[in-house]
Amino acid sequence: MKFNFLPSKEFTRAAKQRFLAVFGAHYPAGAAVSRTIFIVRMFAGALAAAAIVLGGVSVYADTANVPADSPLYSLKRLNETVRLAIAPPAARADLQASLAARRVNELNDLEEKNPASAAIPELANDAGIAVRASIHDANKTNLMDGALTHLCTKLFSAIATSSITMQNVVENNPKALAHFTDECEGADVNGAGGNSGGEAAPAAIAPEQASSGPDEAGAPNELESRINDYLQKHPIGGAAAASEDSGSLEGNSGAGLPGSGE
């Protein structure tokens, strides 16, 4: 049963136009980078990569924006390989997650520009490899709680907004998906319990699960006990104070959630 009353189409359309107009005023579209500037930047990147190979110097080159169909893409990948090779073990998992996110974005861009590109399957495969590698490195370095949650968040963010092709990559790699479920869900029980509209999710706690077991009289079942145990050890900071806060509206970079009054 739906309890939400829906707005009219006219209002929805008009409000969206206003919202996007205000958004556009805050975030004017960036000027396209000319090909000349791009090539100059990429040659600088290529020289930097060559310096690493020849001189063993660790240099960061701005290759983030080179698309997969660019002639300079192979240099970008070379740069990444070098960065991975010299990254300390503790940083590898996070770097792998960043690269996985980058592959996903490249895949999305390529699919948008040229859906029939022959590079798509290979890029999808690379994306899958990067995703598995990040989880593998996270396991090896035994990332705990906050760091693992951060890693999982990064990967989730990349894949959640990815294309059907990327989702197929994950679907065709059930072990990678199982790894996500085990490692990333386990790292954040709050996250594992979060669901919207009662949809079932692997290892998530759907309302139906929460209601099963001998809890009709209100006693928490085993899953709820585990949640409560976890929350006692990892209390959510600032939520109670923030809900009574009538100060100015601040972002969540403070102690808790925004207060009222602005």
């Binding site: 979060g194 949809e199 929350l231 969540n252």
Partner: protein, 186 residues
């Protein structure tokens, strides 16, 4: 195949892209949240125009404040719905109005006729209001966040300062009341 374990952070992913000036992400965020925000404000105020004003304002606030959202400190949904709740508090303070759930029955009747264009809508309006009156304040708030705004338990837990376990137990009780009130519609 629906990847629900990824979907839970889709809103946060969209707002991260929005902060970088991604217009498509901003539009998607709007499409996802506007119906819920409107429903939330309408359920609370009972006025279509007020719900429209508030649900438009919250997105303008979002553009102003999005830079202050730190995705490493928590999910976006909790942040967004806290803003919604604060806006309601400010609205009641400024207008000196009472929440819809406290309106007397004859006022609800008059408003149903004014606010809903069709018979089904009016019936639904009255039913929901009768139901809301049967809940206490805590239950009402949980109902609006979970069943109207469809906010995940994790975010509701942060908003209300209660454990997820306690919220799920409370939601079960609400669900029983929904079943009783709305009978075979569940």
């Amino acid at each position: 195949m629906e990847f629900n374990i990824f979907k839970k952070d889709e809103l946060t992913a969209l707002v991260v892209r929005m902060k970088k000036g991604d217009r498509k992400a901003a539009a998607r965020l709007y499409d996802e949240l506007l119906p819920k925000a409107y429903g939330f404000f309408f359920t609370r105020t009972g006025h279509r125009e007020i719900a429209e004003d508030l649900s438009q304002d919250i997105f303008l606030k979002l553009v102003e404040k999005v830079e202050s959202f730190d995705e490493t400190r928590g999910g976006f949904a909790a942040w967004f719905w806290q803003i919604a709740r604060n806006m309601l508090v400010d609205h009641y303070r400024a207008k000196k109005e009472m929440p819809f759930s406290q309106f007397p029955d004859d006022m609800v009747e008059a408003m149903a006729t004014r606010e809903m264009p069709d018979m089904d809508g009016r019936l639904r309006y009255r039913e929901v209001q009768r139901f809301l009156k049967s809940l206490n304040e805590d239950e009402r708030e949980l109902f609006e966040l979970r069943y109207v705004a469809e906010v995940p338990y994790r975010e509701v837990s942060q908003l209300l300062g209660k454990s997820e376990g306690a919220l799920r137990v409370a939601a079960l009780r609400i669900k029983e009341k929904i079943k009783k009130q709305f009978d075979n519609e569940i």
